[in-house]
């Protein structure tokens, strides 16, 4: 079988890989589709060379069909359509003991800390599997993982019907949060600076503004009769996002930090005191978020297919990645990802 190997220095080579027979508690999956995540782009761009073992097989936003099961596995059998929740916690650390296994202090993330799904056949712990119902096509199944991120974020944000929700950053995760929050009955506003993404949000019927062109806090205040937003999702990971996020919520409003901050920003803690704001970090997902994401995908009510910008065969993996290389500096990064939401690699052929 074939796999895509990251060899460092923005180089991917497609090569032969060995099928790995499942150990007693593992399952082997024939991978159908795998999406390219922002984390994969960071690996490809060389930002995570210290964490990954080169050559490395990336990939975790996948769908597939069970091909083989280990001797202890009772709940899965060959032919089952599945997605993988790519988290392998230690089970023994204080976080695991407190019931927060998804943010285990020794967490292995499949596809980062172990070989990932950009190979025809992927062998993983059986506890990571979720069943994909027949009504979800395998290509859409590859969107379940990022959709589960959005479900986790919206759940931790305790978004309720009629609430006013602002999402700072309209990339794939921001857009999925907007769709899930809207599905939950909220009024949704996306704040985004990139014209392509603004246009994309508009086409999905999402209210969207450019905070470099309008006064975002004044806009939100007006939309909420002077109260402010109920929930703000910070998905940009930018200093500008960290600055404006505190200006938007109502008294006791909630801020959910989803974006990954590579630099420590200034945050208006006085505003937290003054309005008794709440902030909550949100990382990956828990099993119920995967179930919710699968339920939403099966319902057909979200335009998930419109988030798929392009599809490539495995042979063209390098071609799919190259235009998205993460350059230094945020402006370049935003440009490079501007016209892309989600790219899928078809893993069924060679």
């Amino acid at each position: 079988m074939k796999a895509a190997y990251y060899h460092g220095n923005t180089t991917i080579r497609i090569g032969e890989a060995q099928i790995r027979t499942p150990r007693p508690d593992e399952v082997r999956i024939d991978v159908a589709c795998c999406g390219i995540c922002g984390t994969d782009l960071h690996i490809f761009s060389g930002h995570m060379d210290k964490r990954v073992s080169i050559p490395h097989i990336m990939g975790h936003e996948m769908s597939g069909v069970v091909a083989d099961v280990g001797s202890n596995v009772e709940n899965w059998q060959a032919g089952d359509r599945v997605v993988v929740r790519p988290l392998d916690p230690c089970g023994n650390c204080p976080a695991c003991r407190a019931g927060h296994c998804h943010i285990c202090q020794n967490l292995k993330f499949l596809g980062i800390d172990t070989p990932g799904a950009f190979q025809n056949s992927w062998t993983v712990p059986a506890h990571t599997l979720h069943k994909l119902p027949d009504e979800v096509a395998l290509d859409l199944g590859a969107l379940v993982e990022p959709l589960a991120v959005a479900c986790h974020d919206v759940r931790l944000g305790q978004v309720k019907p009629e609430e006013y929700v602002v999402i700072i950053g309209g990339g794939p995760i921001g857009m999925l949060i907007a769709l899930v929050a809207r599905e939950a009955g909220a009024r949704v506003l996306v704040s985004e600076v990139n014209p392509s993404r603004i246009e994309f949000a508009r086409k999905l019927g999402i209210d969207v503004v450019n905070p470099t062109e309008i006064d975002l806090p004044a806009y939100v205040e007006k939309q909420t009769d002077g109260a402010g937003a109920d929930v703000v999702f910070e998905v940009s990971g930018s200093a500008a996002g960290a600055s404006v996020m505190t200006q938007l919520p109502r008294t006791r409003g909630r801020i959910i930090v989803v974006g990954i901050f590579s630099e420590t920003p200034k945050v208006d803690l006085f505003r937290f005191f003054w309005r008794e704001l709440k902030l909550c970090g949100a990382r990956v997902y828990e099993p119920q978020d995967f179930e919710k994401a699968i339920e939403i995908a099966a319902s057909g009510e979200l335009p998930l297919d419109r988030l798929i910008t392009a599809r490539y065969p495995l042979a063209d993996f390098q071609k799919a990645l190259e235009p998205r290389l993460l350059k230094r500096g945020r402006d370049e990064q935003m440009k490079s990802g501007s016209d892309v939401m989600k790219i899928l690699i078809n893993m069924e052929g060679d």
Copy 2:
């Protein structure tokens, strides 16, 4: 009757004042005791000249006895021992309509935005009164207001028995939070840099460390078997406090921001994401916090009397304030307040 007037430029003069007859919904109180709050020191030091009307009567940490009631007042009568919750909300703004009257968007704080309690007789809205039981001496009654702040903070922190709680900053509010959290069954650690305050905490039997002398995150990790603190109260309002506060909590641990940040600090939002930390701003108090503070004071279980550093007659008000003048720069500020917890002014005489 007499009042202490702030005339600007660190000058207090004791002068004559008019007794104000209560309007229909007001009550007039003969003030017994009034404590000096950090906010009073800010006013005295000239930091709030734009907000107060000079000459200004400060003071809101008080106890007293009802002397006269307005025509609509049914629940209070002359002779009632009382404390005042010094908040006068508008009732109409989005915060009030959402049930958050204590942080009303047009809040009048009695003693800052209106004349305060450093006068022999104080006339206030009847809705601000709480009954002071006979078992609470009037001088301790003047501690109910700061104690209510601590009760509010501990309530918003959802502190539970056996939880490990770190308080960053051991001034009067930090110390009261430590006492209230300990009373709630928590294990408590105070982090404080000032030797006098460290000594004071030790005398109260509170575990206390100097973060400039030890590795505070390592200490907390060790005390909690590698997990981290359940709740962290940031009471210092300092950049150092804002920096270390994110290093202390366990996964999904809570940070309560109580300190007033005059400058916007850097905050490690990545850590919020990584450990799914929560942060909550906490400001003043709600009616139930005053009731809880009165209940605690009446129980006699906290060593509240030991927080009273000194008592002065009204005539010596300037003398009581001068050593505590807030100089520019945090180091000077800490020195000036280092050996003082709470100073009370006896308002019963002239």
